[in-house]
């Protein structure tokens, strides 16, 4: 995005004008949503986090130092929110038995889709998306966040090294290893061979 246009949006929002915030939402909302969705694997959580982030933007934009890159600042806030959300979910999660019966006599295992059923196009697309999600899940948290922030936040390796407080070479090594693992898990390396 053109720097001058972005500066105008930020200035307008800082002045408390709804138009400025709307323009920022227009410019970054979709990418932020994508980041939240991939990080939480839930459309509900992604929507909730996006709404919460916009609220925080209203409260914190005045603190934004315009010498830094706005996008990095925005995604840094988003990354912190994701980490808080994940921490909260981990604190709440309780084990559930697949064989425990509900009042109706149905078990959780009964509700899992039967893999032997013929697949249609929508199911295949869904499985492809699930493949990515499952592959992302296999990465450690920091590597996954780095890969996601590279894509959605368009962060440089220098910005990642600052955000995660690690040497520049380490940030790149993590992303490199993460990408290789994703390709392997998603079968891309088989196609290359």
């Amino acid at each position: 995005m053109e720097d001058r246009r972005l500066s105008a949006m930020i200035a307008s929002a800082k002045a408390g004008q709804a138009d400025g915030y709307e323009a920022l939402m227009e410019a970054f909302g979709s990418r932020l949503y994508g980041y939240f969705f991939r990080a939480t694997r839930s459309h509900h959580d992604a929507e909730d986090l996006l709404g919460e982030l916009m609220l925080r933007l209203v409260r914190t934009l005045k603190d934004y130092d315009e010498r830094g890159r706005f996008e990095q600042w925005l995604f840094r806030v988003a990354a912190n929110m994701v980490r808080d959300r994940i921490r909260r979910i981990k604190a709440r999660v309780a084990p559930v038995s697949l064989s425990a019966e509900r009042e109706s006599g149905e078990t959780l295992a009964d509700r899992i889709p039967d893999r032997s059923r013929p697949a249609d196009a929508a199911m295949m697309a869904q499985e492809a998306a699930q493949g990515l999600d499952e592959a992302l899940d296999k990465l450690d948290t920091v590597t996954r966040e780095m890969v996601l922030l590279r894509h959605y936040g368009q962060m440089s390796f220098k910005e990642l090294s600052e955000l995660f407080d690690c040497p520049l070479g380490t940030a790149l090594a993590r992303v490199h290893r993460g990408l290789k693992m994703l390709r392997r898990l998603m079968g891309a390396e088989d196609k290359d061979a």
Binding site: E22, Y33, R38, M54, L55, D84, L148, G169, L179, R183
Partner: protein
């Protein structure tokens, strides 16, 4: 196998600096570029207009009522205080335990309105500003690795619930053209 220095050179090159890569470095840089391009298509997860609209609505509501959230937390705190006072009254049994001091007589449980009024009286703008500043500071600047105290997480959860209750239950009306 690349070492830390080589990784650093690759990172600087991919960040747009003028660094000449050699052999394995160039190969790794190409690998990263290719893998990121491939993943790019798979990563797309578009938000429906309805989802973006709802997020925008929350944002606009926040612009219109910047102090609403804190006042709502105040309301919740007042309700909790009133409930606690009622509970104390219910559990308090005069003369149940011998005491050298004369028992304290509770005249009446504070009403919800009186607690709320008292809270509103004390909730001056400066104090709201200070609390708001602290919340903002935590939200934007706090290092993410630091664990939030349980109380703050609880407040955040209450805030979320209040917002969901307030904004998600608006009836929708047809727009007449």
């Amino acid at each position: 196998m690349l070492d830390e220095k080589q990784y650093e050179r690759i990172a600087r090159s991919l960040d747009g600096e003028d660094v000449e890569l050699i052999g394995a470095e160039r190969q790794a840089a190409d690998e990263i570029r290719r893998a990121e391009a491939e993943l790019s298509a798979a990563m797309d997860a578009s938000a429906t207009p309805a989802r973006l609209r709802r997020a925008r609505r929350r944002m606009i509501a926040a612009l219109e009522h910047p102090r609403l959230r804190l006042r709502r937390i105040g309301t919740v705190a007042a309700v909790a205080a009133a409930a606690a006072a009622v509970l104390v009254l219910i559990l308090w049994q005069p003369g149940a335990a011998p005491s050298p001091q004369p028992p304290v007589r509770v005249q009446a449980a504070p009403s919800f309105d009186s607690v709320l009024a008292a809270l509103e009286e004390t909730a001056r703008e400066d104090e709201f500003d200070l609390i708001q500043y602290e919340l903002d500071d935590l939200a934007a600047g706090a290092p993410s690795g630091a664990a939030w105290p349980a109380l703050e997480l609880r407040i955040e959860a209450i805030e979320n619930d209040l917002w969901d209750f307030n904004l998600d239950d608006f009836p929708t009306y047809p727009i007449e053209g």
